[in-house]
């Protein structure tokens, strides 16, 4: 079948657009290679996708979103296997198919678009080549030249479809930006003209501006091709803005399903409600984010009842004993055509309590010291950077990461540093803790000025340690995997005590208590901790030195919203109690609104705007700031739905 | 002497499966034989291993020849006479040509000898001409050699062991580059070397213009196959028709597929004590060590019985026509035999100045693993009587250098004679006058006088008597402890046979005696 014919085929079936393209029923997947026998991961998932429809699958990390969709595509990772249920594509059962038959389905019927544009494309093949590999056979007869020309033309057409110029065909992935790569990947995914496109977190690895563009692109392609589109995401705002219907997954089960609009305005499951509530808002600052306590149970450690029962404020004994089932719910007053369903057995009783995500108490705009950061160096500021420059030199050319950056973090203040990826935020933070050198300007941390052009000496570093500590983004590398939590913290305490007299130094237990962890965690190794717990330990380690300035470099960005909210709350509390200053690096404007007193916006190595957080967010001056705020999904009615 | 090479020549008393084979006079078009180690040059003056001789004697001849049993005979000289004790006159054979077609003249002999004597050439054979006063062509076909002092043994120097004749033109043209793949060798012999690939093979072709009887083999290839295992497979798979210079342990494997002949090669392995240095200046110490050396055991175990326990340095066959074998036997029997007896060894040591034992070192050359094993065996016995012997392997070159340096009080003497005269061993090693070679620093006036008398004697019987006296006297003093006279093996596939496998078989053009089996 030629591409043209395929398109025509679509047109022919268009009237039957409402027919089910994908029907998953009771899908079960287990980890088969586990030492103690198979461990169920997906426990009976059902969902449907119609032609020309975009559905979203949301849920926190580890809930099974990717596995479910990989099972549909027949690409389960080794060590996992389907143990039950059915998957129909276009009415045909695909679970029992041979690898060969499954292979025939991929590309034509269903295609998976993956998360990371940086690893999804082969680094040694040109983009054009990779798109062409998925094309169906083109007419060119036996004439190789003609076939080649036809292929080339088709590739250029496909590139144009995703908004890229023909020259991209000859370029290698590493020569393109993340957003462009994701477009190339989309073109490659669509090369076989699939009827169903599954996009697994296609925007997570991109910065805010590209995120919106890629989402718009996918949505547009889905509409113009009348495909089915499954969008996997952990970001509720993204799902609501882009999808017609949304399934909420938790611990291998669908807990709720409904149209985006309905879900957003009236969740029918405590989990959905909790997720919505813990989402920081760009518009308002809350006294405290209503975080869901605890974290997602790992496969194998789930109880017999509702998987969410342990974290649920509304849980009743029945929740812990009875297996849950997704049941249709009578919409709360609205007469939408989509049926709504929820797995919460307590729904009749608690339905009303869930309806108000706005139950969050709006806080007074923070009492900000009347000065603008960076305007005038404050005498006792925690961090003063003056006209800092930093250029990275390499054989491939120089790259200026910071130019003329001036920033002050006053005492006892939370300053947020925002900006697109690569704008130099991390570089600045690392300079402040002495992990990176700078070429020009002056940096002083709590009165200690850092040397220009070289790394601080060990002695400098000791003194610096009392002034500033840092928490990094990746929870998985932030702790030494071989050391127990206790050993890590003891070392931090000893290092801190080495510089200062002992005496009031807190113990490991106190530190753990401070970050909300039980003392028994001292004997655990990082592998036995969840991501959120690891970040708490990292925070405790930083606090052991009782620094005057705490730098958080995207410290919560890798965490689920529920856990992120917990940590943000914790950070705010600690900051209030201990009175240290915080330089909080993030690209999430909601988080900025939630915790920052002051904000500085970085763009291409410069600080383009800074001021009191609320003012900057409400009335951005610099076009770049405005663009960032506009790109936030769900903000200001930013919907990509039709 | 030639440097002890990794392989040996053949001697008399041929034993083994091939001993009595006879040949048929059928032409053999080509034959391939394996040699156990490789050659880097054909020039025996540069690399004078036994294998180099093995090749060179086929292409080059000397004034005199040696028959397989050790008798001197005519070679390029049809006759020779000795007008006085210091003068040798050789009458050359007429009508002989070199393989390049040029005629052979007396001048070529002079040139060949001069090339050896020229210190600039550094020929390994140079030592043999130290006593020569002049070499002159005294006629168209006559060469006269005058010695500085009488030397009864000199005639042997003009056999293949001491002289291989080439043409003056060739020697001048290729000075310093003789025996390489490009220059090869030029001689008058039964074969002409047509190709030499260093470390791989030599190709020879019959010289139909040779003055002697036409050999049966037309083309001969000598392949160097250093690995014993590979060598045997080569034989079994028919890639080679035989092998020369097999070590005794290896030869066993060949017996099922080939006719293997073991022949004494006249070489001797001996311990040399420095009689001028403690503790070896003490006869009791030397006797103790002799009692501790299980020479029978070494021959049986290490050499697989393919050797003979040595009574003295010169092997029995070295006496050749100088003395009848029975007299040699009775003469050697008079040397006190020190049997393997650890108690006696202990007793001797107790009598010595080194009662409490001592530590000594013994080095052996890497080309003689059997020497190493013997050393280890000796070390094990000596340990029992309180003497520690540390055994060390060194390279052949180091070993040669060490031999004359006088640094090591205990050494191996490993010697391959090129003549059939006991004086070749007795004179350099027992005569105190031979300062460079008497590594034992042995000085016994009886022995010295006997050797000097023998040297200048023109009468055969006098020589024989005096030499035997010297050997017997030294035998009692034990400056050397002879361990064994070695045998070597050659193997031919059952199709072929090498006639007359005497102890001197390989000092002459041996390949001329190869025949198809009858």
């Amino acid at each position: 079948m030629t591409a043209r014919a395929a398109m025509a085929g679509h047109a022919a079936t268009a009237p039957a657009a409402t027919g089910q393209l994908l029907a998953v029923d009771g899908l079960r997947v287990s980890a088969t290679a586990a030492p103690g026998g198979p461990v169920p991961i997906l426990e009976g998932i059902s969902l449907e996708v119609g032609r020309g429809e975009c559905i979203g699958i949301v849920g926190e990390s580890g809930s099974g979103k990717s596995l479910a969709m990989r099972a549909v595509a027949g690409l389960l990772p080794s060590g996992t296997g389907v143990t039950g249920g059915s998957v129909r594509i276009d009415g045909r059962e695909v679970l029992g198919l041979s690898p060969r038959e499954h292979h025939a389905l991929r590309g034509r019927r269903v295609t998976l678009l993956m998360q990371d544009p940086f690893t999804m494309l082969h680094p040694q093949l040109t983009c054009g080549r990779q798109i062409a590999d998925g094309l169906r056979d083109l007419d060119g007869g036996r004439n190789l030249r003609r076939a080649k020309a036809a292929r080339r033309a088709e590739v250029e057409r496909r590139l144009a479809e995703v908004g890229l110029g023909p020259d991209v065909a000859d370029r290698y992935p590493h020569e393109l930006s993340g957003g462009m790569r994701q477009r190339v990947a989309a073109a490659a995914a669509l090369a076989g003209d699939p009827e169903l496109l599954i996009a697994d977190e296609p925007t997570t690895a991109l910065d805010a501006a590209s995120q919106g563009a890629v989402l718009d692109l996918l949505r547009g392609l889905q509409r113009s091709r009348h495909m089915g589109l499954v969008l996997i995401t952990h970001d509720l705002r993204v799902a609501f803005s882009a999808c017609d219907r949304v399934y909420v997954l938790y611990a291998g089960q669908v807990l709720e399903h409904g149209s985006s609009h309905e879900l957003e305005s009236g969740p029918l499951h405590p989990y959905t409600a909790g997720l919505l509530a813990s989402e920081p808002s760009v518009h308002e600052r809350f006294a405290e984010l209503p975080a869901i306590p605890g974290s997602v149970p790992a496969p194998g450690s789930r109880g017999p009842g509702c998987p969410f029962a342990d974290r649920c404020a509304h849980a009743a004994p029945v929740c812990r004993s009875e297996p849950v089932e997704l049941l249709p719910q009578v919409g709360a007053g609205t007469a939408e055509r989509t049926s709504r369903s929820s797995a919460c057995v307590r729904m009749p009783g608690i339905g009303g309590a869930l309806l108000a995500p706005s139950a969050r108490t709006v806080a007074e705009p923070a009492a900000v010291p009347g000065r603008e950061p960076g305007a005038e160096p404050v005498p006792d500021a925690a961090l003063v950077a003056m006209s800092v420059d930093r250029t990275f030199r390499s054989s491939a050319g120089d790259h200026t990461a910071l130019r003329d950056v001036s920033l002050t973090v006053p005492r006892n203040t939370v300053v947020a540093l925002v900006g697109e990826s690569g704008s130099g935020k991390t570089t600045l933070a690392r300079i402040a803790v002495g992990l990176e050198t700078f070429d020009g300007g002056a940096v002083s941390v709590g009165g200690i000025s850092l040397p220009t052009g070289r790394r601080p000496t060990t002695a400098d570093r000791r003194r610096l340690a009392e002034q500033v500590q840092i928490v990094f983004q990746d929870p998985y590398s932030s702790l030494n995997p071989l050391r127990t939590v206790g050993a890590t913290l003891r070392e931090a305490l000893a290092a801190a005590a080495g510089g200062r007299g002992r005496g009031e130094a807190p113990g490991v237990e106190d530190l753990l208590a401070q970050v909300g962890l039980p003392g028994a965690y001292a004997s655990r190794r990082p592998a036995a901790l969840s991501g959120g717990e690891r970040q708490r330990v990292a925070l405790a380690r930083a606090l052991a030195a009782r620094p005057r300035l705490l730098i958080c470099d995207e410290a919560v960005a890798a965490l689920d919203v529920s856990v992120q909210a917990q940590l943000l709350n914790l950070l705010v509390t600690l900051q209030r109690e201990e009175g240290f200053a915080v330089l909080f690096i993030t690209h999430d404007l909601g988080v900025v609104r939630q915790i920052a007193d002051l904000v500085a916006v970085m763009h291409r190595g410069r600080i383009v705007e800074q001021g009191v957080a609320a003012q900057v967010l409400d009335a951005p001056q610099h076009p770049w700031t405005r663009r960032m705020i506009d790109a936030v999904p769900g903000a200001a009615g930013n919907s990509r739905r039709s | 002497a030639c440097a002890p090479p990794p392989a040996k020549e053949s001697g008399d008393g041929a034993t083994g499966s091939g001993a009595g084979a006879r040949g048929a006079d059928v032409p053999i078009d080509s034959l391939t034989l394996a040699l156990p180690s490789s050659l880097s040059t054909l020039d025996v003056g540069r690399e004078s291993g036994v294998l180099n001789y093995l090749v060179a004697v086929l292409a080059q001849e000397s004034l005199l020849s040696v028959d397989p049993s050790g008798k001197l005979g005519p070679g390029l000289a049809s006759s020779w006479k000795q007008p006085d004790a210091r003068t040798y006159v050789y009458t050359l054979r007429r009508g002989v040509t070199f393989t390049d077609g040029t005629p052979f003249t007396a001048d070529d002999v002079v040139a060949s000898i001069d090339a050896i004597r020229d210190p600039k050439n550094g020929s390994a054979l140079g030592y043999a001409y130290a006593g020569v006063e002049s070499v002159k062509s005294t006629g168209d076909h006559e060469v006269t050699i005058r010695l500085k002092a009488p030397d009864a043994m000199f005639a042997w120097t003009t056999t293949a062991g001491g002289l291989l004749v080439s043409s003056r033109a060739f020697l001048t043209r290729n000075k310093g580059r003789i025996g390489t793949a490009k220059t090869l060798l030029l001689g008058t012999g039964p074969y002409r070397i047509t190709e030499f690939a260093a470390d791989d093979h030599v190709l020879l072709e019959r010289n139909d213009a040779w003055w002697g009887e036409k050999p049966a083999v037309r083309k001969l290839k000598l392949s160097f196959v250093p690995d014993a295992g590979t060598r045997l497979v080569a034989m079994k798979s028919g890639a080679v028709d035989g092998a020369l210079g097999l070590a005794s342990d290896e030869a066993r494997g060949w017996e099922s597929d080939a006719r293997v002949t073991y022949t004494g090669d006249r070489s001797v392995v001996s311990l040399a004590f420095d009689t001028a240095k403690a503790p070896f200046d003490d006869l009791h110490v030397r006797r103790a060590i002799a009692h501790a050396a299980d020479r029978e055991g070494m021959v049986k175990g290490i050499l697989h019985g393919k050797a003979e326990v040595a009574d003295a340095l010169p092997s029995r066959e070295m006496w050749g026509d100088l003395m009848p074998a029975s007299e040699v036997s009775s003469g050697y029997d008079a040397i006190p035999a020190l049997s393997f007896d650890l108690d006696a060894a202990r007793a001797e040591l107790d009598k010595s100045s080194a009662k409490d034992g001592f530590t000594a070192e013994l080095h052996y050359p890497n080309s003689g693993p059997q020497l190493g094993k013997a050393a280890l065996a000796l070390a094990a016995s000596l340990k029992e009587i309180g003497i520690t012997l540390n055994v060390k392997e060194i390279t052949l070159e180091q070993w040669v250098a060490e031999l004359g340096s006088g640094k090591q009080p205990l050494q191996f003497l490993w010697y391959f004679p090129v003549t059939g005269d006991p004086a070749e061993l007795a004179d350099p090693y027992l005569n105190a006058a031979a300062t460079a070679t008497d590594i034992a620093h042995y000085d016994n006036s009886t022995v010295n006088t006997a050797l000097d008398t023998a040297k200048s004697a023109t009468d055969k019987d006098v020589r024989a008597r005096e030499l035997m006296k010297a050997v017997q006297t030294a035998g009692a003093d034990l400056p050397y402890l002879p361990l064994w006279w070695a045998r070597t093996a050659s193997a031919f596939s059952k199709e072929f046979v090498l006639l007359d496998q005497g102890p001197f078989a390989f000092i002459g053009p041996w390949a001329t005696r190869i025949r198809k089996s009858a």
Partner: protein, 274 residues
């Protein structure tokens, strides 16, 4: 998808471990348990197995079975020395280069580049042969020439760890570079190093036995497997086991070490993944 993945502790791995333990025992205690391993009896000569000699005797009438047990020490010690020596060099230089960077890194990298370009065995033959230093020199040269791979391995492992957050966190705590290197980075690099040392060990056994084959090995008389193999090679018809036994043991030791090293690597990379 059905998985037919072989379990980590396969019987093969267990066999290799047992074999290595036996070798280690022989190396440690062989000469103590059999003090008369070198008892000789020239009258026996090289004899076939039997008559109280499990594997027969060599030309000096020494018992092959006793000799191979006693020989484990000398065979394995030299190779172990190579492996451990190069591991030590590799760790010290690799850690320094990877962690300190700068000119140290440049110098160490150039040095490793240089050595890595050389065929180790050839250099050993040339240096030990021309220098005349014998076995000790050969082992020394092998240590130096095996080390660049270790240096690079450690260095790249350190580079991978160096920018991990936990290392940078330790730095910001004001810990000394030495502490960070030895207490934080090194333990995390160690497993890879250990696995690699096993592989180097195997390589060194093969290399040293090759040297013995060429006559550049341990001194004569030492009960070294490589030496026994090359010395008894000609006894194929008197007592083949005199050469076969050490040959089989060399290959067995190398195989066991290689297999175990490979499995360890696999296990460690699995651990890194989960």
């Amino acid at each position: 998808m059905k998985s037919r993945t072989v379990r980590r502790f396969s019987p093969l791995t267990v066999c290799c471990t047992i074999l290595l333990v036996l070798f280690a025992l022989a190396a440690a205690a062989g000469q103590l348990v059999l003090p008369d391993w070198d008892a000789q009896d020239l009258t026996t000569g090289a004899a076939m197995p039997g008559g109280g000699h499990l594997l027969g005797t060599d030309e000096l009438g020494r018992d092959i079975a006793r000799m191979v047990v006693a020989g484990a020490r000398s065979t394995l010690a030299g190779a172990a020395l190579v492996a451990v020596g190069s591991m030590v060099i590799g760790n010290v230089l690799g850690l320094l280069a990877g962690y300190r960077g700068g000119w140290i890194d440049t110098v160490v990298r150039r040095w490793a580049d240089l050595l890595l370009a050389l065929p180790a065995l050839l250099v050993t033959i040339v240096v030990a042969g021309i220098g005349g230093g014998g076995y000790a020199l050969a082992v020394g040269v092998l240590v130096v020439l095996t080390s660049p791979a270790d240096i690079r391995l450690v260095r790249s492992a350190v580079l991978e760890q160096r920018h991990r957050a936990y290392v940078e966190a330790a730095q910001t705590l004001g810990l000394s570079p030495f502490t960070v290197m030895t207490r934080h980075i090194w333990p995390n690099v160690l497993p890879v190093v250990v696995a690699n040392t096993l592989l180097n060990f195997a390589g060194a056994i093969v290399a040293l036995s090759s040297l013995s084959f060429l006559g550049l090995g341990v001194p004569p008389g030492a009960p070294d497997w490589g030496r026994m193999l090359s010395e008894n090679r000609t006894l194929l018809y008197d007592n083949p086991s005199a050469a076969l036994a050490p040959a089989v043991l060399i290959v067995a030791a190398a195989v066991a070490l290689n297999l175990l090293g490979d499995r360890l690597f696999e296990a460690f990379s699995d651990r890194g993944r989960s």
